[in-house]
């Protein structure tokens, strides 16, 4: 298949929820090295609250992303509330009227997320934040659309790009967020937000690939 039914959002969203739940400890540890150690807890709380709210209901991907964004924004606070809240709400907005999620539409959704994010934060690629995961993921999708790649392959490529982007934060010096005041001492460790963003994007892609293949 070359597209996903927007209505079949549930499994994709739960894939994201479970990935965060499984990585709660790991994200906390990463944040603990140069931040305050609460990233895993924060993300887990927000995603688990969304899971509870969803219950055993079905949801479209657009509605689910909106609800997830709202829960994050309203319930977890911190930086991650507004940041991931904005990302998911923008993705939802960009897909609201669609029945089918195609590769070009998904690229648009991700582009909207990045733009929305840029509206509330000053960080850009290279500043050791989740932007370093999100930006290459979006670039990869843009390239896949231009070269007419298959949706599944495009998602695999996006996962690889996100992973590479996340890993690239290891050698960076943080410019924003709590760890930014570390200067050189922040080098050598992954960024927590870049790591969670990678976890989420990969889980989202996996959920989508599962549907595209079945």
């Amino acid at each position: 298949m070359s597209s996903i039914k927007n209505l079949n959002g549930r499994d994709i969203l739960l894939s994201m929820v479970h990935a965060i739940q499984e990585n709660k400890q790991y994200l906390g540890d990463v944040d603990g090295l140069i931040g305050d150690g609460d990233h895993g807890m924060n993300m887990n709380k927000g995603f688990t609250l969304y899971e509870q709210q969803l219950g055993d209901k079905e949801t479209s991907l657009s509605d689910g992303l909106f609800d997830l964004g709202t829960v994050l924004m309203n319930k977890i606070g911190g930086s991650m509330g507004p940041i991931y809240g904005t990302i998911f709400m923008e993705m939802s907005d960009a897909s609201l009227d669609a029945d089918e999620i195609t590769l070009p539409l998904f690229k648009n959704m991700m582009e909207a997320a990045l733009e929305g994010l840029y509206g509330i934060i000053d960080a850009r690629p290279g500043d050791k934040t989740l932007v370093d995961t999100l930006y290459p993921a979006v670039e990869s999708l843009k390239a896949s659309v231009e070269t007419g790649k298959d949706f599944v392959q495009a998602l695999e490529d996006m996962k690889a790009a996100a992973e590479k982007g996340k890993d690239s934060t290891k050698d960076m010096v943080a410019k924003y967020g709590r760890s930014s005041r570390l200067g050189e001492r922040s080098r050598g460790v992954l960024d927590a937000g870049a790591t969670s963003c990678c976890v989420i994007l990969k889980a989202m892609a996996d959920g989508m690939i599962h549907q595209l293949k079945n």
Partner: protein, 337 residues
Amino acid sequence: MQRILNNPDNIVDEMLEGFVNCHGDIVKRVITNDDNPRGVVAAKDAPIAGKVGIVTGGGSGHKPAFVGYVGKNMCDAAAVGEIFSSPTATAFLDAFRAANGGKGVACLYGNYSGDNMNVKMAIKMAKREGIEVKTVVANDDVCSAPKDQREKRRGVAGEIFMWKCGAAKAAKGGNLDEVIAAAQKAIDNTRSVGIGLTPCTLPAVGHPNFEIKEGTMEVGIGHHGEPGVEVCPIENAANMAKRMVDLVVNDYPFTSGDEVAVLVSGLGATPVMELYVLFNEIAKILDCRGIKVYRSYVGNYFTSLEMMGATLSVMKLDDELKELLDLEAYSMGFKQL
């Protein structure tokens, strides 16, 4: 972890329940909103019609900050976040509502990215409801950025001076711009520095958040264990005091003849006795430098869970700030006749 807890995920809500129950003579809980079931802590008779509302908020784990500074002639409402994490935008909005007496709201908070984003969003929402909100963003922590990037500096214990002076201005009938100006002046005149001696453990995490090796101290550490500018062998109180005074005094700079307010706060687990020993050394050095201490405060005013260590905040005074600082106040964390 040798801590007093039930489910660590509920610690903030349970703390709040206990806090409001204990201090019913000073505060009340205001819950108006399904999106923020925790509500906010407001002064007992907030909002006061015709008075500028004073709002603050921030992550939990800093007791008495933030809810301990809600009270008479202090903040009117505080938004409460998870431990070390900004409150939500909805929580700040609820605090604006609880504090708004029709003359606008001064939101006086610390410079952290999460708080900045959530306050910004809350202000947008408040605007739609016709609540005018202006902000002062505390950035008193000298070691958190170079002087030419003061806008990047964190807010730490100096926020207490900002709240005290801003709130006093409002209590004395100042309008929103006057209140903002007073609070801004207070924080612009304030410099702080912290020395960390032990790390702290978030209850839900269960192991220390960062490391400070036995026998070392971290100069310039932040209120969430954000690393400082130097890790060095632990020094005696006199030398710690000298370092702290040097960093703070040279940055502003404070000079001979200045009158100042001094606040020495523990980070949580350092015995208060030792804070007085440190203050004693600080007072001697300031005296040598010709800087006159007009008022001083020593205690656990702004903590970081069970970290050991202390912060020093110094505020340059003028006649207005003196008058504002002198006004009586009554909150859990700051009581003054």
